[in-house]
Subunit: 214 residues, 2 copies
């Protein structure tokens, strides 16, 4: 029988985080249990408490790594000559992440309660930090004359955040069905967002099409 003593201590921590992320992704929050995880990596329940303090502590670590992955993808969006398209691409990346890792996403933005986990002020701060990417894009839209000169990026980025989160969550819950699906709502929402911000309807539609295409 292979136990945690057979390997360097730091290894056990890594294995636990990875296994937790895997179970969360593949079987959902209800399947997460300390006993299951430690059994899978060949350790005892104490491992959870020496390394993470508690089960919510382990979930928090999974969430932190999720935020890091999220930011990594967001940062990859290249600035081009169409800032509206760039904004659309950021939103596409957002939705792709939420769709690829819905449970981690839910933990990140408070829709979960998994294993008694609750967001701390620091956690929220890490989430809010991500908003600087779309906020800068919105500012570039205004600077390029696509959005109104008096555009309030602080207000608009919150409105956009709200729309992206609502879509991600409702789509995951199965509420965006029928004649229009999540992609239709995303395209419509983004176009209307740009138009209301002052962009020309035709140009906005073109930027949305091009930004969502990839």
């Amino acid at each position: 029988m292979s136990t945690a003593k057979d390997r360097p201590a730091a290894h056990t921590r890594r294995l636990l985080v990875d296994e937790a992320a895997r179970v969360l992704a593949e079987e959902g929050p209800a399947a997460l249990s300390a006993r299951r995880l430690v059994k899978a990596v060949g350790a005892s329940t104490m491992a959870v408490y020496t390394h993470f303090g508690s089960m919510p502590g382990l979930v928090r670590e999974v969430m932190r790594e999720g935020i890091a992955r999220f930011e990594g993808r967001v940062a990859e969006v290249a600035a081009g000559d169409d800032p509206v398209r760039e904004l659309v691409e950021l939103c596409r990346v957002y939705q792709e992440f939420a769709r690829a890792e819905p449970e981690v996403y839910a933990v990140m933005f408070g829709g979960s309660g998994t294993a008694g986990f609750e967001l701390t002020e620091d956690d929220r701060g890490m989430g809010v930090r991500l908003l600087r990417y779309p906020r800068n894009a919105i500012r570039r839209c205004a600077a390029a004359g696509r959005f109104r000169p008096d555009t309030d990026a602080d207000l608009l980025v919150r409105q956009l955040f709200v729309q992206m989160h609502g879509l991600a969550q409702l789509a995951h819950a199965g509420y965006i069905i029928g004649v229009y699906g999540p992609d239709d709502v995303l395209a419509g929402t983004l176009r209307d967002f740009a138009v209301a911000a002052g962009d020309d309807p035709e140009r906005a539609a073109a930027s949305v099409r091009s930004g969502l295409a990839g």
Copy 2:
């Protein structure tokens, strides 16, 4: 000692639902437990299973009553001569409900996972049914010439749903903070929604102000 046998059977069911709603509202999903509830109403754990089949079944009943309360308030919004204002009022009622009963709201729209509860197709259907109120309002906006004649109410109502849900959830999670709060985002979102749908910016702003005022 007062037990469940001292009263008519139907009474126990009512007491359990009420106590569950109370605990959920006052102490959150984590505080919900069968043993606690039956202890509070003077019954045994079997009561949960004879009346609701399971704990998720009890939560489902709490949710159903929540939807009924929600629809009751939504239906109270009177149709006047300003359909945009009516739409804004519906959204105000939506946000007020989500703020007053955040845990019930979370169960209704899938952001919870409370006590292993999962939405069924029927549950979602009851939620989707509520969308006919804003959908009708949007159609009236188009008929009154405020929104474009080719307004697609099916698409727009989904976009609005997404915005209202995102705001409710993120505000509850503590993510809408700083220079602009939930009310600012709500006002901005509704104004931009109307403008993108074709309404005159000044009239839209006026309808939003008047609709949010009450």
